[in-house]
Point group: C2
Chain length 252, copies 2
């Protein structure tokens, strides 16, 4: 038993981790054949994980509302958010609570959001081996997957319309710290977010009250969503892209 634990620590310490703080910086990184974790904590990737956890079969990220509405004809639920608002004419917005109480059980969902869904597409185009949805809700399961898979890791923060944001950076720091050590890291952004996370970890919710998107979502009465999205390890699934749809990955 002790032997197994030691082995995991050694693998983790060797993992190369880079952090992309904004989609506008993705071109500086080589994501090819790496594990890319797309991070849109408030709320897209947290909602994607929640939907799968509550029985959705798949979430198809689409880049615009037209694509989502076309898929409605094929039986998909449609979900669309822009600037924090649910769009009229769609079944859902971008709130994790819309995925609970059987609402998405055995359903497929076509989802388009302001930031997160575009990044899933960008990571795919960049040639990622796996594109995972990042969320605090299943952070330990994601960490275990990445450590076991051993590939280099790119943590890809969705930000807000290309601007760097606190909540995605914080999550990147939390995950980077779980899967690697500072000594193994050569990327300054990764070092930055690890220190940021350690500054904030005692009370992430309180820390984020100063952030731009937290204030934006508070004005839109999404405070309950945010409190939920900052909970850690509520589920042990890993959600990643298969054939263009986010699904529950089989974890060995």
């Amino acid at each position: 038993m002790i032997k197994i634990e030691l082995k995991i620590i050694i693998i983790a310490s060797m993992l190369k981790v880079e952090v992309v703080l904004s989609p506008a910086l993705l071109h500086l990184f080589d994501a090819k054949n790496k594990n890319v974790v797309v991070i849109d904590i408030l709320r897209a990737t947290s909602t994607i994980c929640t939907a799968i956890h509550h029985g959705a079969l798949a979430i198809k990220p689409v880049n615009n509302t037209d694509e989502a509405l076309i898929l409605k004809g094929s039986g998909y639920l449609t979900a669309a958010e822009r600037d924090g608002h649910k769009l009229d004419g769609f079944d859902m917005g971008n709130s994790p609570f819309e995925c609970m109480n059987g609402a998405v059980l055995n359903k497929k969902i076509a989802l388009t959001t302001t930031n997160g869904t575009k990044c899933i597409t960008a990571a795919t185009i960049a040639g990622a081996a796996n594109v995972l949805a990042g969320s605090f809700l299943n952070i330990s399961a994601i960490a275990q997957f990445l450590i076991a898979d051993k590939r280099d890791v790119v943590l890809f923060c969705a930000g807000w319309k290309d601007s760097v944001n606190l909540e995605d950076s914080l999550f990147a720091g939390a995950l980077a710290q779980k899967i690697s050590t500072k000594e193994a890291i050569e990327c300054d952004s990764t070092l930055m977010v690890i220190d940021l996370y350690n500054r904030a970890k005692a009370n992430i919710g309180q820390y984020l009250e100063q952030s731009s998107h937290y204030k934006r979502l508070s004005r839109l009465h999404h405070r309950e969503d945010m409190e939920y999205c900052l909970k850690s390890d509520e589920m042990d699934i890993v959600v990643g892209l298969k054939s263009g749809e986010m699904v529950k990955l089989q974890v060995n």
Copy 2:
């Protein structure tokens, strides 16, 4: 006397400060009519401040080596650095120590570097009211200038070939903290770098030993340069752009 101090604190707390973590993110910010501080701590903007402090009349940032060599015919000293190396055929590289002991007294210098000089040009094109050279060496003088001038501030990190780096981010945090308060800040990047600076401030040199560019410059034997560039308040000048050249600004 007490009254004056109180007034300064009140003005400082109202200053709007944004931080551009990489040149690739500058387009997200409106720098027009703002005070922009270009930050290339290791070493361009530290060297520019040092040269002016040691009697250089002006440093003209140019974007390529050809432009620098043309200015040689007009009596300029030429300084060129790429990837940390001084280029052959130029009078100087990018080291602050080359500016000491009378070497630049009453001289003008045409300077081109990997990152910093390009950012001075970019800030000018973006319509900045003032483009200042950022360095720890005169950080308090810069802070006093910004507080007195009252304009909104953009702290523009040069990074390394568009990648975010630790040393420029740290300086941005140090300066942001001197001129504003967290309550007045709406930019997540600014909040991030302030916390990063507070994490590192006890020993910035030691903190930066983990950074990518520190390691790069160490390999190139520029350790002495780095130790110098991290010293605070060695001079009380403010260096900014006038008619395309970095000169000592008159401070009221």
